[in-house]
């Protein structure tokens, strides 16, 4: 727990003023809590003894005045603690967000969205609750408790010291509750994360679920996690069941001790009845804090469990190490050179000994079997993954020497797995350059062939597309992604299987348009169609992580290797038919 607070320190520190002022207000509020019952007691005494009405009226007025002041304090600290908690959580959420954006692909490859979402929502909520609520409840009850003890010792030290009798029991149950509830909270948070993942994937995969009519199975799968989540919560209830009533019982048991020992003391003449009555009036100030103790422990342990999970993400290290003296804000020319680059994913080789070089203005075509490492190769250029060995140079400098933003700013990728944001089509195209002019967007859209289908939508470029671009066909999405890459006007443009769902005729148009604007830039095109890569200056054929053939369309055809086979196959589809058809 102390570890958690130490880790939280930097989040609390900036809002010290808020924290201290609201804590002070709580303190005064708690101190004044004693005024009300004390005065009521006095009033009752006066009513019983001498019917002194002026005292009653004065007393009532004082109580009213104090109450108004107290409720103002209550309002003040309640709102201030809320504000304080919001500020802390704001910073925490922001740091998480920044961290998320800085983590490399390998983290996202192995972490389900639902898990991250649960940290950003449920866990943050538990932390917020702690700072907004548990804090002032703890302060209030501690103060009340301490006042009560002091007052009791002042009335009768002998009777007050009987309090020691219940201390061991209270301590025992507090520690037991604290220890047993913590792992359960950790489990609840974990199960919450699983529940999140199941629901999140069900939503993302809703098309597949419907296509395969798997709804019953999905509900069953969900219900398993839903039930487990309930069970974990019931486990926590079991712990409460075993500890909270006991804590409560010992808190009240003190009343019996006071009654019994007090009476004995009176009988022995060591105490007056008045003192016992006064003592009794203070008992609530002992009982309530002890009763609340269990809930405070609960809230704290829930906070600790949640913060542990959040911390996990905050401590996540990106594999990407930035050099201190990095080259920033340069416009790259686009000279790319791979020197014996290998990349292993965990222990499995994905790329082996890849070397090639490209000059600005040249186009590289990448062809090869599914899973041969083409996408990985281009991911390395942007440093989405770090090469295991070998070196990649851009404009003669190792890519590690560039500032990461500068590097990526100079590279645009239209990815194979297209993600569009729930925004307008225009907003999606201008994603990389949010302040791009309309004309620029239209121009990029035209080159990418977006303009050909845009009129199918009522709102044209203002049409909002769903997350992942749902509602659009594969070919339409690819063209938007392409426009998004083009508009950046990068030194290096990478098209990863960007035209596979586009018909050949459109593809041809797009490639021709691209050629016009790509005179000075380095372009990588990954494709399966010969027609997409055949005009490239360099064609690299990949298989099992290695470059097995390289050359131009003509030279590779002469080689009669893999490329030639693919070509004849694709031509064959036509050749045979053209002969028969003609």
């Amino acid at each position: 727990m102390f570890k958690t607070f130490k880790a939280m320190k930097s989040y609390i520190q900036p809002y010290k003023k808020l924290y201290i002022s609201s804590a002070l207000m709580t303190l005064v509020f708690a101190l004044l809590a004693i005024v009300d019952p004390y005065l009521v007691g006095q009033i009752i005494d006066h009513v019983l003894t001498d019917q002194d009405t002026t005292f009653v009226i004065m007393g009532s007025l004082i109580i009213m005045g104090v109450t108004i002041f107290r409720t103002m304090l209550r309002y003040g600290y309640f709102v201030t603690f809320e504000k304080f908690s919001q500020k802390v959580v704001y910073d925490l959420r922001k740091d998480l967000y920044v961290k998320l954006q800085s983590l490399d692909f390998s983290y996202f490859d192995k972490t389900p969205n639902g898990q991250i979402m649960s940290k950003m929502t449920g866990d943050i909520e538990a932390i917020r609750h702690f700072f907004a609520w548990i804090t002032h409840v703890t302060i209030f009850h501690s103060v009340v408790f301490i006042i009560a003890i002091i007052a009791m010792f002042m009335i009768n030290p002998v009777l007050a010291s009987t309090l020691i009798l219940i201390v061991p029991f209270i301590t025992f149950f507090s520690i037991r509750l604290s220890k047993s509830v913590k792992p359960i909270f950790a489990e609840i948070r974990e199960q919450f994360s699983k529940l999140n993942t199941v629901v999140q994937e069900n939503i993302s995969g809703n098309k597949l679920v419907k296509a395969l009519a798997r709804e019953p199975y999905e509900i069953e799968k969900f219900q398993k996690e839903n039930e487990a989540y309930k069970e974990k919560n019931m486990d926590a209830a079991k712990v409460w069941e075993d500890n909270l009533p006991a804590l409560d019982a010992f808190a009240v048991l003190f009343n019996v001790v006071v009654l019994f020992v007090g009476s004995i003391l009176i009988l022995k003449g060591k105490m007056t009845i008045g003192e016992l009555v006064a003592f009794n009036r203070l008992l609530w100030m002992i009982n309530n804090p002890l009763r609340m103790l269990g809930w405070m422990i609960n809230g704290t342990q829930n906070f600790v469990a949640s913060f542990d999970r959040v911390k996990e993400l905050l401590d996540e290290k990106s594999d990407l190490i930035e050099h201190k003296e990095s080259i920033a804000h340069t416009h790259l020319k686009g000279y790319v050179r791979f020197e014996k680059v290998s990349f292993h994913y965990e222990d499995l080789p994905v790329l082996e000994d890849v070397s090639f070089e490209v000059n600005p203005g040249q186009t590289v075509g990448l062809l090869g079997s599914t899973g041969s490492g083409k996408s990985t190769l281009i991911s390395l250029i942007s440093r989405f993954y770090e090469a295991t060995s070998g070196q990649i140079l851009i404009d003669g400098e190792p890519i590690e020497s560039y500032d990461i933003y500068t590097l990526r700013n100079n590279i645009s990728i239209a990815m194979q797995d297209i993600f569009l944001f729930s925004d307008t089509i225009e907003g999606n195209i201008a994603y990389g350059v949010p302040d791009a002019s309309r004309i620029k967007v239209r121009l990029a859209a035209e080159i990418a062939g977006v303009n050909e289908f845009i009129h199918q939508f009522d709102d044209n470029y203002d049409t909002i597309v769903g997350e992942r671009g749902v509602g659009l066909s594969g070919g339409q999405r690819q063209r938007i992604a392409l426009a998004r890459a083009i508009i950046e006007d990068p030194a290096i443009l990478i098209l990863d299987d960007t035209t596979s769902a586009v018909d050949m005729e459109t593809e041809y148009k797009i490639l021709t348009e691209l050629k016009k604007i790509n005179e000075n830039r380095t372009t990588f095109i990954i494709a399966h169609r010969i027609s997409s890569v055949k005009d490239a200056d360099i064609i690299l054929v990949m298989d099992e992580g290695r470059i097995i053939e390289r050359g131009t369309h003509t030279s590779l055809l002469e080689e009669q290797g893999y490329y030639y086979d693919v070509f004849t196959q694709q031509m064959g589809e036509f050749d045979v038919e053209t002969r028969e058809g003609a």
Binding site: I44, V47, V56, S60, L61, M64, I68, R74, F78, E82, K83, Q86, K94, Y97, V98, F105, S118, F192, V199, N202, N206, K207, K210, A213, R214, E215, E218, I219, N226, A237, E241, P245, L259, F260, I264, I266, E346, L348, T370, G371, S372, Y405, R408, S412, M415, Q416, F419, D423, F453, I464, R468, G474, R484, M504, H528, I530, S531, V566, E577, T578
Partner: protein
């Protein structure tokens, strides 16, 4: 599809405010556990009664036992006190048990119903709002009800009970004093109502802002690769900060209203206490005994305390209702496509499919297919060709009844697909879509998703047919390698192979391949062609592809253009026709041959 679509920047409009019907729905969930409700109440009342005895004991001790030196009486009283403690302790134990059970069960049930209902909603539901907004409704919003449900309602009953008790006792003691106190209740009521109205509006805004913020987080995570490659991190952070600011402002506003409740009620209660004293001691001087005044002072606390509790619960309910109305709103969304009342199971499909004058458009003004007629014989392979957006995928969506036709009808073996159950229809179709989706889990489970009872051998056989076996065996734990939504280490082509295996495993009567192999390399595609041919024989199938190898073998090729069928025939027929298809074909040959 509505024109105004939902994004993270857009507050969701609320269709239906929390009202009596929704409260009734909520109570229905609670009453499913009336046993727990009843037991919890009994237990609470037992401890309440037990605690009422305590002051009595005290009075006996002070007034009687101590003056009379009655030690045995003192011991008995103490033992009685301990007895009461034991009773309350046991009551509390069961109270925790029953209330947790009640609360957790109800939450589970609501969440289940919500999730199950979402399964029936059409694509448009998912397409028209950020997924993060749906997610928080199912998971987080339901959790927000937890407190209200478990402790709230029960405490409400107890509070009403103790309020009534206090009121009755006070009435028996002194009518004038009681009415003096009661005169203050309307003020408290007015104050609470004022706060409630403000609070209600502001909580609705909180939930909308929270939803926006969560939607943005969700989208940021899903789109992280794009963000990083376009170095949009700073812009995104700014957007996120704005969303957080909005949320925080609304949250603080709502908290300020909540913070008002206690001061309002507390001050009014203290004023009523003061007024009562003045009335008793000054106005009615001599008419009221000191004992009554003292007792009234004690009971005035019992009178106001439950009222403060009730108003705070009321506020909690108001806050929770901002989430409740979202939950019920979702449950109330009518599934557009459902089984009709007398829907029957589609008998085993032979594969004869008819499009009978079908007209359809996703949006009213945009007809995609107009008067579309097509007769497909069982076992035929139909290929669709045409420009992007012409309606190829639409035809597929209509057969699967993902959308209903505007006019006309689609029949399978003579059964109008609207007359049969959705499950029996889609269960017999094998659809392989453009979007592949991989669940987090093992590869073997992902393939098995196609047919849940398939044995490991069958799964492996399917993987071998689509040539996925080799790359799977190369992975760290072959078929048991964990993958996730983004498909760890799986290339798009490999994911297509997996979903291909999935479709194959399902062994459907009608097969629909929508751009199923676009990211698979030519060699692999050729290799799976054999398996594919096997798969296609004897089954009615629809193929959408840009690659001619798949198309050419079709029994009929249909060129879809201008809202309908432009050309139809075998490859040879269409080539002879020298129409659109021929041009397309020639163009492709040209692109391949032409060396730049």
């Amino acid at each position: 599809m509505t024109k105004k679509r939902n994004t993270f920047g857009e507050d969701e409009l609320l269709d239906q405010e929390f009202n009596a019907t929704q409260l009734k729905k909520l109570l229905k969930y609670l009453f499913a556990y009336s046993k727990e409700v009843g037991l919890a109440l009994v237990v609470i009342l037992i401890s309440a009664v037990a605690n009422l005895v305590t002051p009595l004991l005290l009075r006996y001790v002070i007034d009687d036992f101590i003056p009379n030196h009655n030690i045995s009486g003192l011991i008995i009283a103490s033992l009685g006190f301990i007895g009461i403690i034991i009773i309350s302790t046991i009551s509390m134990k069961y109270r925790i048990r029953f209330m947790s059970r009640l609360g957790q069960n109800v939450i589970r049930d609501i969440r289940h119903d919500l999730f199950a209902h979402i399964q029936t909603l059409p694509f448009t539901f998912f397409d028209s709002r950020p997924h993060g907004k749906i997610l928080v409704r199912v998971v987080n919003y339901v959790n927000a009800l937890s407190e209200v449900l478990s402790n709230g309602f029960i405490n409400l009953i107890v509070d009403i009970f103790s309020f009534a008790m206090a009121l009755i006792i006070m009435l028996t003691m002194s009518l004038p004093l009681t009415f003096t106190v009661l005169a203050f209740v309307p003020f408290a009521f007015a104050g609470i109502t004022y706060v409630k109205n403000k609070q209600r509006k502001s909580m609705q805004e909180v939930s909308a802002k929270q939803s926006n913020m969560n939607a943005y987080i969700h989208e940021s995570i899903s789109g992280i690769k794009v963000t990083q490659s376009f170095t949009r991190e700073d812009v995104n952070l700014k957007v996120f900060e704005e969303l957080m600011d909005d949320y925080q402002d609304k949250w603080m506003e709502s908290r300020r209203y909540i913070a008002l409740i206690f001061p309002i009620v507390k001050n009014i209660s203290i004023m009523s206490q003061g007024t009562m004293l003045v009335v008793a001691l000054v106005l009615l001087k001599g008419q009221i005994t000191a004992g009554v005044v003292v007792a009234s002072l004690a009971y005035i606390g019992n009178f106001w305390m439950p009222l403060i509790n009730i108003s705070e619960f009321y506020n909690q309910l108001v806050s929770a209702s901002a989430y409740l109305e979202r939950i019920f709103e979702t449950i109330d969304i009518k599934a557009e496509i459902t089984n009709t009342k007398d829907a029957y199971d589609l008998p085993e499909v032979k594969g004869q499919i008819t499009f009978d004058h079908v007209t359809f458009g996703y949006e009213k003004d945009h007809v995609i297919l107009n008067d579309f007629c097509l007769d497909v014989q069982a076992g035929e392979t139909i290929a669709f060709v045409g420009p992007t957006g012409a309606g190829k995928t639409t035809v597929v969506n209509l057969i699967s009844r993902f959308y209903d036709v505007n006019t006309g009808a689609i029949r399978i073996d003579g059964h109008d697909i609207r007359d049969v159950t959705l499950h029996s229809l889609r269960g017999q179709l094998g659809i392989m879509m453009q979007d592949t989706f991989i669940f987090s889990g093992t590869i073997i489970d992902n393939i098995r998703y196609g047919r849940l009872d398939a044995s490991d051998e069958e799964v492996i056989a399917a993987a071998k047919t689509v040539k996925a076996h080799d790359f799977i065996m190369d992975m760290a734990e072959d078929y048991h390698t964990e993958v996730n939504e983004r498909g760890t280490r799986l290339s798009t082509g490999q994911r297509q192979l997996l979903s291909f295996a999935r479709a194959l495993l399902k062994d459907p009567k009608v097969l629909i391949l929508d751009e199923a192999t676009s990211s698979i390399d030519t060699q692999t595609e050729k290799a799976i062609q054999e398996g594919l041919d096997l798969l296609l024989t004897g089954r009615t199938s629809f193929v959408i592809a840009h690659r001619l190898s798949t198309i050419k073998k079709a029994n009929r090729i249909i060129v879809i253009n201008n809202k309908g069928i432009e050309e139809m025939g075998t490859h040879d027929e269409l080539m002879e026709n020298k129409g659109h298809y021929y041009e397309l074909y020639q163009a492709q040959v040209k692109f391949l041959q032409e060396v730049g």
